[in-house]
Amino acid sequence: MSDSTAIVHGAHEADAHEEHPAYLRHHFENVEQQADAAGFAMWLFLLTEVMFFGGLFTAYLIYRNWYYPAFVAASHQLSVVWGTTNTAVLIFSSFTMAMGVWCAETRRRKGLILSLCLTFLLGLVFLGIKTIEYGEKIEKHHVPGFHYNLSSFLDPDNDAAAKAANDKPLPLDMARHTEVYFSLYFAMTGMHALHMIIGIAILGYMIFRARAGAYTTGHVTFVENFGLYWHFVDIVWIYLFALLYLISRHQ
């Protein structure tokens, strides 16, 4: 009887040791507290990002109200087809990232690697489509600067995109304000694309680490917090798509 008690007691001690894994830092009470602290910190970082993009969105809101006809005509130069495709691509990449977090939580190494690789590829597809769109802007001299060309807005009948949207010619002073739209377009989508590039670089590192068996040992904080970052970038695009591509389709 006493022997069996001793055995049970010993087994319990072995369990107690397993409850404190190597990745638990000594200044945390337990794994849960450590994960909560890391998640809280990640959210604080994301809120600084929200403020940063919020400033750009506010600038867009004010300028769009000031130079309304210019912003409407300029937004007709964007392709809704490419914009919609990219939105779908980014939503799918958010889904594959969420599945990656699930695979890490349930310790599926192969599933995690596959999810991360798909997210990586979809991120590249997004940037590829963005490159095509930027290329069109460069060709038509719609990049703000010395070579900016107003002909799409002064003479819309000779511009396929403007003609399709039934644009009327803008007076010269208003047409010049289309440059403000494209400045904000490149600033906002450019900052968004930079976040994508940083995200894709980190994804590459994570694929490399996941192949070595990281993240599937119960310590999922890195994958989880990167997921938060990737979803945040997705949310920024959801708003960019609505504001830059969609809201001026019919004026």
Partner: protein
């Protein structure tokens, strides 16, 4: 091993792939709806509808993909405080611009 997994399940909510698939479909549906709505002639309501759908999609992403629905009260409060601050700052900026020489630049 089983004990350890059970312990983690208790302390850390794992969102199931089923929910992720449902959210994915909802987001795709929302994207289709917002593109469709942008081709309707709704005057001042076009931007309102586009932003409402975008906000609905963003909320789905925040609550489910970003696990806020299953997170601690601290995380929920942090997210809410951040969004509240953002709207306060946008509101104050707009109030300032609207109450000055609007459109005189």
């Amino acid at each position: 091993m089983t004990d350890q997994k059970e312990m983690e399940a208790a302390s850390h909510h794992v969102v199931s792939p089923k929910i992720y698939v449902i959210i994915l479909l909802a987001l795709i549906l929302g994207t289709a709806a917002t593109v469709w709505a942008s081709f309707l002639e709704l005057g001042p309501w076009n931007p309102v509808i586009a932003l409402a759908i975008a906000t609905g999609k963003a909320m789905l992403v925040v609550l489910f993909f970003m696990h806020v629905k299953y997170s601690s009260k601290l995380t929920k409060l942090t997210v809410f405080a951040g969004i509240f601050t953002l709207f306060t700052l946008i509101g104050m900026t707009l109030a300032d611009y609207f109450s000055r020489a609007w459109g005189q630049w």
